[in-house]
Symmetry: C2
Subunit: 407 residues, 2 copies
């Protein structure tokens, strides 16, 4: 038992591959013979779809390129591992394969659902007396994992969102003689961390969004109407940021005000979309001014060309920590990012029990949202600002970011 | 008569302020006493809404920051100057003001409609024997001006579109085990230059979009269906790029397939939107696979954080050339970017008669579009690649691009 296997799961981020690089480099440094990557996560592993990472990461240059490549290099999956009591055959198959490939450490880079996988595998392994160690490395742009100060992936998404907010506000302001309302729709079903990041645009050269609505606080259309009406009395160009997951006090998503069709993904999450479009149509009718819905869509989670260097580094360190723990015989854990100091910002990499993490969502503290639910306080800015510092320069070829791609 | 006045008009771009910097620096170098900026173009000028640029650009550092700031620093307008025969009072007012401020050179930075303004003012000026000179500096992300090889603004928008296309393709590919269709909607009512730029994503590490549809060729839904169907037989994840302005052989915009409401702006242009959404809904029904519409929206025209240095430089040079011509007594012209050599790329700044430019649209040559209208040829790549070279590094403050803002 001397080999390591690593997989990536859930949605893409700009730095999930930096975590993969951290796993690979530390595993090799600790003497792992083989470091296998599972293609498309546990789903691919079950089909023995593996890659020997030495064959694709055989130079420092390739590892560096991996760290600058967005989305999951190994491919991802949204495969929910069943409960071992209900489907023991799946677990037997997994452990049979782990033994076949002489795996000592199993690392899974992902969010809530991925940590659920780590929890189940670790618990099952212990129940059968397996010596294989299962440790997670955190990844989610949503920043909603428990037991951490923040998650790798969030800082880069926040940096891109804040930069694009500043640029979009500059764009809107050129027609300052006409009344306009731009509404930006930002990812986040239940947690508003990404939408809150638009507030980072605030500064000497930018007011930031005039209104910011997160899913943490029920959205009230009449109160929104009043806010917009009052603002239009004092300024011509409004920028509004909304989470895709904002909903009213009854739990009805605002995007459902137009459509009752509910799309549900493999984990039972509702698929969002159209919140900004709906509110734009509403404002056009109510206020008769030009509106524009801006959906950041997938762009916000894969904009590695403007990633946060702090985030890239911390992602690497959390991958490094995860495999170090697993190769040291520890299991059922996730690497964590903990803030040791605010100014100067110091982040320490720790480990937490994955049982406290899987299936738990960490939301934006309500005290960081203004009482009327339409703005973000400076406490959030102090929290988030260190996470977007430093620019990870892409490797450029022919004027464009170059990526490492697994064929 | 020793002063210069400069305005910006039409839609924003990442480099329109670099042109403004070029005008300012050359005007000062040529001994202009005052360089006035008109706020919100000719519309603001008519209300004497002017700014003495010395008061806001008084250091090299500020000029540098201006060059890195997207959208129109002076504000813009979409004010169509009437014909002088029909509204002589407007022209009398303009020339009265020009004389009041002792203007020798009038520079307007913009696209087709702005060059129409230059044409009318220059013709009127000559008809009354005025010595004031009117010269345009080109600006449009749409790249659709006549008499030039390309326009300032295009290179940066093309670079951002190509980079985001690469990143979005990486994003989509993580779920390579499932069939998905992503459709990117890119600006362009009549000219497909911006959408064609998505083809720049092609390279060793990226296939680029599988299908690319420009407004230059009528769109046929049945042929599109067949193409997608055939592609889904050989690959799981399709990326499709469409111009907002694609329309069928009858001239009906594809976005109108869902809505018959037609919004029209001040120049009679139809407001586009929803093309990708429509095609996604269509594909979902036809092929039953997951789809995602990605609208680049205003992000594509103001992403100065990843602007092309080539574009930033050429924008500056075209502003420089325009004011040099006007202060040398020439009128009714526009600065032009002309390609003197392909490899190595050499761009020369020239001057063209604005009568050949205003109200003319330059489209993508049909021979650069494949016969079936669904892809872009390598001739386009050879054309566009030099325009996206070099990265204009933003001025960073607190982790975000800093902008120069006129209060």
């Amino acid at each position: 038992m001397k080999n390591v296997i690593v997989g990536q799961s859930g949605g893409p981020s700009s730095v999930i591959n930096s975590s993969l690089a951290g796993v690979y480099c530390r595993a090799k440094a600790m003497g792992a013979d083989k470091v296998y990557g599972m293609r498309n996560g546990i789903q691919g592993f079950l089909q023995e779809s593996l890659v020997d990472l030495d064959t694709v990461l055989g130079s420092n240059e390739l590892v560096k390129l991996l760290r600058k490549t967005p989305a999951a290099f190994l491919g991802s999956c949204r495969f929910k591992l069943p409960d071992p009591e209900k489907a023991p055959a799946v677990f037997e198959k997994i452990f049979e394969l782990l033994n076949k490939y002489e795996i000592k450490a199993f690392i899974y880079i992902g969010g809530n659902d991925s940590m659920d996988t780590i929890r189940k595998l670790s618990d099952y392994g212990q129940s059968i007396g397996s010596g294989i160690c299962f440790v997670g490395a955190p990844k989610t742009i949503d920043n909603d994992l428990a037991e951490v100060d923040h998650t790798p992936g969030y800082g880069s998404a926040a940096k891109f969102i804040a930069a694009m907010t500043k640029e979009a506000i500059r764009d809107e302001m050129v027609y300052s003689t006409n009344k306009t309302i731009y509404i930006m729709e930002i990812m986040g079903r239940n947690a508003g961390w990404l939408t809150a990041a638009s507030a980072l645009a605030r500064g000497e050269d930018c007011d930031g969004p005039d209104l910011i609505y997160l899913p943490e606080v029920p959205f009230d259309l009449a109160a929104f109407r009043k806010k917009v009406d009052d603002l239009l009395d004092v300024k011509n160009n409004l920028m509004i940021a909304v989470s895709e997951g904002i909903h009213d006090a009854n739990g009805t998503y605002i995007c459902e005000y137009v459509s009752t069709e509910k799309l549900v993904d493999a984990f039972g999450h509702k698929q969002m979309g159209g919140t900004a479009s709906y509110l734009c149509s509403y404002c056009e009718v109510e206020f008769g001014c030009k509106t524009r819905a801006i959906e950041f869509s997938t762009l916000q989670r894969c904009a590695a060309h403007f990633a946060s260097q702090t985030d890239v580094n911390e992602a690497f360190q959390s991958g490094d920590k995860a495999v170090e723990a697993a190769l040291s015989g520890r299991t059922g854990l996730m690497a964590t990012l903990l803030r040791a100091n605010d100014e100067p910002y110091v982040c320490e990499i720790g480990l937490a029990d994955v049982h406290h993490i899987s299936n738990v969502e960490r939301l934006v503290p309500l005290e960081w949202i203004t009482e009327d639910g339409s703005q973000i306080s400076d406490d959030f800015i102090r929290y988030a600002l260190p996470l977007i510092q430093g620019e990870s320069q892409p490797v450029i070829e022919n004027g464009l970011p170059k990526h490492l791609v697994l064929k």
